[in-house]
Symmetry: C2
Subunit: 198 residues, 2 copies
Amino acid sequence: MPTIKYYLREGLLPAGVLTSPNQAHYDEEHLRRLRLVRALVDVGGLSIAAVREVLAVIDTREESLHTKLGTVQEAISRPSAAEFDPLAVKDVQEFCDRHGAPEGFDIAGSGVTQMLAAALSAARSIGHDHFQQLLEPYLEGLRIIARADLEYIARLGSRDAVIEGMVVGTLIGDEVLKALRRLVHAQVSRELVETDSR
Amino acid sequence: MPTIKYYLREGLLPAGVLTSPNQAHYDEEHLRRLRLVRALVDVGGLSIAAVREVLAVIDTREESLHTKLGTVQEAISRPSAAEFDPLAVKDVQEFCDRHGAPEGFDIAGSGVTQMLAAALSAARSIGHDHFQQLLEPYLEGLRIIARADLEYIARLGSRDAVIEGMVVGTLIGDEVLKALRRLVHAQVSRELVETDSR
């Protein structure tokens, strides 16, 4: 497969054990790593440089699981734009203060809070100045969702599987939530506006 | 601005009223349309062809608001891949049956259910065969989120503003939810695995 050769060349996969000049043997760990790289590239849309960064974090041994999960998550979290409306930044800061954001989540240093500020800035740029009102109900719904996510990955077993599950679950979960939210919109819309005459 | 000229040339914006050979006047409706096109392109990442499709739906007059919201939503919902695992399709079908999916949401005809099936197929392709277990808790959380979304757009006023709000709120909301879910992960992770020794 040309893709595997490409990943090998880019140093994203360790070399297999040569069994003949043209054949290499890949074990279970190789396959797991290949699947992870594929998920990052195909589902997460990450660049090769970003994939390399995620793998480097995963391969660092000396950290607590919680710290490592946080570092991996930062590596897969990049704002869609680098334009921040100061008012949107203020909204994010206030929201984080209000909910006791975990250490490390400051607007300057965290890709996650930058994602949030970039999205609220985009809303403001097209006249949606009150979009931040949605943060509170979103948080309420996401508490249920995030708890299920963490329970899912905790069941995966080994430390490596949990970290891989966090990456995969975050990126594939994004897509599942996008689709499912649209399905639920259709249901709730029927309830709320079917009799609306606008 | 070259972007406006490009949008004009592509027929995404109506021509302004010429006030001199080199100047055209654009009214409030033009600006609203420009903002919407920008949101679709910059935030939603839609192609010009997809934007044209969304605008055509918005400009069709003779439909109920609920029907129109559904049609617009389909126009901004495309699966990230076209590879479907038959088992993932079965999971989506069963989930939709279980929750009384609204008419029109069948796996063959709906971009939304295809998004869901594509995401679950991606999970299966990398060994996550039980990802569909998350659909139920996701649905529970999304009911809270979708209700807030619909209340937000219902407050926007005119029929056009509501339809624009649905498009903008869906696409920007995707980004806000992505970021916020990562923040909540960090919080829940602290609660669940901080004392875990893996």
